[in-house]
C-alpha cells in the first residue's frame, strides 16, 4: 500500500548528497517503528569463487558524511571470510509500508577497535555472552549442545548462569569484554540508489556514484556524488 502522506518522488533536481536522504529515511523508519527491526538490511557478500550469499543484519550506525554504515558480526563468519577475499558488498533496506528502498554498494573494512568496544559494551549481557559462546556459521549437532557450549564458556568466564540455560542468575559483577573475533564492519558507499514506490509501478529511482580511495585501514577519501534519475 502506498502511503499518500509522503512525496511519491525525489526532488526534480536530485539531492547533491543522497546519503543524507538515506539517513533521514532510516530515521523515519526507526521513529515511526515501521516494523520490529526497522534498521534491518540485507547484506550480500560474494565468495572467492563468485557465489553470492545474502543475510539480514542490523544497521547500527549510519554516517552520511563521509558516507558509510556499520553492522556487527563474528569476524569468523561466512560473510567475513567472503569479505577477506572480496571486500565488495551490497546492502538493501526495504520499508514496504513507507514505499521506499535504499540500495548501497561499496567496500567493507573492519571498524576501529574503539568503535566495536563501545558498541559491545552497550549490548545486553545475554547478547555479550552469545558473542563468546557461538562459533558463528560453524556446524553443531543440536540446539541443546549449543546452549551447553554457551553455558560452559560463560561459566569458564566466571559468570553465574541458571541450570540448563544461558540466563544469568545475577547481573555479572564485572564487564564482559568484547571477543577479539567479534566487531563492527563498515560498508563505505561508492554507489547508492533511492527508490520510491509509485502507482502502477511507475516508481521513482535516483542512482548516485562516486569514487572512494583508501586513506587508512578504516577510512577512505571520497569524491563528490554524481547522480542520475533512472527509469523504473
Amino acid at each position: 500500500m502506498i502511503n499518500d502522506e509522503r512525496p511519491n518522488r525525489l526532488p526534480d533536481s536530485l539531492p547533491a548528497d543522497p546519503m543524507h536522504w538515506a539517513d533521514a529515511w532510516l530515521k523515519e523508519a526507526i521513529s515511526t517503528r515501521v516494523r520490529r527491526n526497522p534498521d534491518a538490511m540485507t547484506v550480500v557478500s560474494v565468495s572467492s569463487d563468485g557465489q553470492p550469499s545474502a543475510r539480514l543484519v542490523l544497521c547500527r550506525k549510519f554516517v552520511p558524511d563521509p558516507g558509510y554504515l556499520v553492522f556487527h558480526t563474528n569476524y569468523q563468519s561466512k560473510k567475513c571470510l567472503d569479505f577477506e577475499n572480496n571486500p565488495r558488498a551490497a546492502a538493501v533496506f526495504h520499508w514496504d509500508t513507507l514505499g521506499r528502498q535504499i540500495r548501497i554498494e561499496g567496500l567493507i573494512v573492519k571498524s576501529p577497535r574503539e568503535e566495536s568496544d563501545s558498541y559491545f559494551a552497550n549490548r545486553d549481557k545475554g547478547s555479550q555472552l552469545g558473542a563468546w559462546g557461538s562459533d558463528q556459521s560453524y556446524p553443531i549437532q543440536s540446539k541443546d549442545k549449543l546452549i551447553r557450549q554457551i553455558r560452559d564458556r560463560g561459566i569458564s568466564m566466571g559468570l553465574s548462569l541458571r541450570e540448563g540455560t544461558t540466563q544469568f542468575t545475577e547481573a555479572p559483577a564485572s564487564t564482559i569484554k568484547r571477543p577479539p573475533h567479534w566487531g563492527g564492519l563498515r560498508l563505505w558507499a561508492n554507489a547508492i540508489e533511492l527508490w520510491i514506490e509509485g502507482r502502477d509501478r511507475i516508481h521513482d529511482r535516483g542512482r548516485w556514484s562516486r569514487n572512494i580511495m583508501p586513506a587508512s585501514e578504516t577510512e577512505f577519501t571520497v569524491t563528490p556524488w554524481s547522480g542520475t534519475r533512472l527509469q523504473p
Binding site: 543524507h20 530515521k27 521513529s31 515511526t32
Partner: protein, 301 residues
C-alpha cells in the same frame, strides 16, 4: 559601579559596531539611550548547555547565555524576530526558539555558527512544542491537522523531510525523546482528560499517568529514570514526576515556586534548572527548596 560594568559589557558586545550607540553614551544615562539592566523578566525560560553547562535564557525577545552559577548575561542572537523559549541542541551548535513576528508565532532555529535564523519546516504547517532529538539533527514537534487536532511530527533538518509519529482523533502534544533517543513521551488530551504516553523502543504505547488537571512541559531526567512535568492546578502549577519503575510512581517535586510553563532543564541527574516568578531557579533533586540564580542582562534597544 554599574556604569563601569555597562561600559565593559557594551565593549564586549561590540554594540558600537551595530551603529546603535557609541562610546560617548557612557557620560549620559543608559536609559536615555534605551539601555536597561534587567534582573528578572516575565515568562523567563531557561535551558542548560550539555556542552559547557552554561545557561540560555530569553530576555527582551533575545537569547542570552550566562554561567550556571549566575552573573552577567551575554546576548547571543541578533535578529529582528522576538525570540523566546530557547532549547539548545546537545552539540551546542543550534538553538530552537519560538519566533514572534508580524506574521505570527512560529518555531525557528538559530545556527550559532552563522547567527542565521531558519524556519523549522519549509511549509506553512503550524508547529508547537518543538524539542531536539539527542542526535541534534532532528526536531520533534506537534502540529494541527485539517481536523484541528494535534499530531506529533518529526523533521530532519538537513534534508527538510518530515514524518508523522502519531495519528489519532485526540490531541497529542509536548513530545520529548529520552536522552538515549530510544524512548518517546508525549501528552495526549482526550475529552478534557490528560494522559502521559510512553513509547519505549520496540514496545507498545503505554499510558503512564492520567490526570483531570492539565499537564505540560515534559522533561526526561538524564538517566532516563523519570519524566518531570508541570501539573496545572486552579491557581498554580506543581512540578511533578513519574518515576519509570514497575509499577510507576508519581510524586510532587516542588509545590512552592510559581512556575513558568516550560520544561525544566537538567544539568545532570541530580540538578535541574527552571524559571519561576521571572527568576532562574536551581534545585537539587533531593532538596525541598530551590535557590535563585542571580543574573543581569543589559538590554539595548
Amino acid at each position: 559601579m554599574e556604569w563601569d560594568e555597562a561600559a565593559t559589557l557594551i565593549n564586549k558586545l561590540k554594540i558600537s559596531n551595530m551603529g546603535v550607540i557609541s562610546l560617548f553614551i557612557f557620560n549620559v544615562s543608559l536609559t536615555c539611550f534605551g539601555a536597561e539592566f534587567v534582573r528578572e523578566y516575565p515568562n523567563l525560560t531557561v535551558d542548560v548547555s550539555q556542552v559547557d553547562e552554561t545557561l540560555l535564557i530569553d530576555v527582551g525577545g533575545r537569547i542570552w547565555t550566562l554561567p550556571n552559577n549566575g552573573g552577567q548575561a551575554i546576548q547571543i542572537t541578533q535578529t529582528t524576530h522576538d525570540l523566546s523559549q530557547p532549547r539548545l541542541s546537545r552539540d551546542g551548535t543550534k538553538i530552537l526558539v519560538n519566533a514572534n513576528s508580524t506574521e505570527g508565532m512560529t518555531t525557528m532555529f538559530v545556527d550559532l555558527a552563522t547567527n542565521e535564523l531558519y524556519p523549522l519546516i519549509a511549509t506553512d504547517m503550524n508547529t508547537q512544542d518543538a524539542a531536539w532529538h539527542p542526535d541534534g539533527e532532528r526536531v520533534i514537534y506537534a502540529s494541527r491537522n485539517h481536523e484541528h487536532q494535534l499530531d506529533i511530527w518529526e523533521v530532519d533538518l538537513l534534508t527538510g523531510l518530515t514524518w508523522r509519529l502519531t495519528n489519532n482523533p485526540d490531541d497529542d502534544s509536548s513530545p520529548v525523546w529520552s536522552q538515549n533517543g530510544r524512548h518517546l513521551a508525549w501528552i495526549r488530551k482526550m475529552n478534557d482528560r490528560y494522559s502521559l504516553i510512553l513509547r519505549r523502543h520496540s514496545e507498545a504505547d503505554k499510558v503512564v499517568l492520567e490526570s483531570d488537571l492539565r499537564i505540560s512541559s515534559l522533561s526526561w531526567r538524564p538517566d532516563d529514570s523519570l519524566i518531570s512535568f508541570l501539573r496545572h492546578h486552579e491557581k498554580k502549577a506543581t512540578l511533578d514526576a513519574v518515576i519509570l519503575s514497575d509499577p510507576t510512581v508519581t510524586k510532587t517535586l516542588d509545590r512552592e515556586d510559581k512556575f513558568v510553563t516550560a520544561p525544566v532543564s537538567w544539568i545532570n541527574r541530580m540538578t535541574m534548572f527552571y524559571t519561576a516568578n521571572g527568576t532562574i531557579r536551581s534545585r537539587h533533586f533531593g532538596d525541598r527548596n530551590s535557590r535563585q540564580i542571580h543574573f543581569r542582562a543589559l538590554i539595548v534597544e
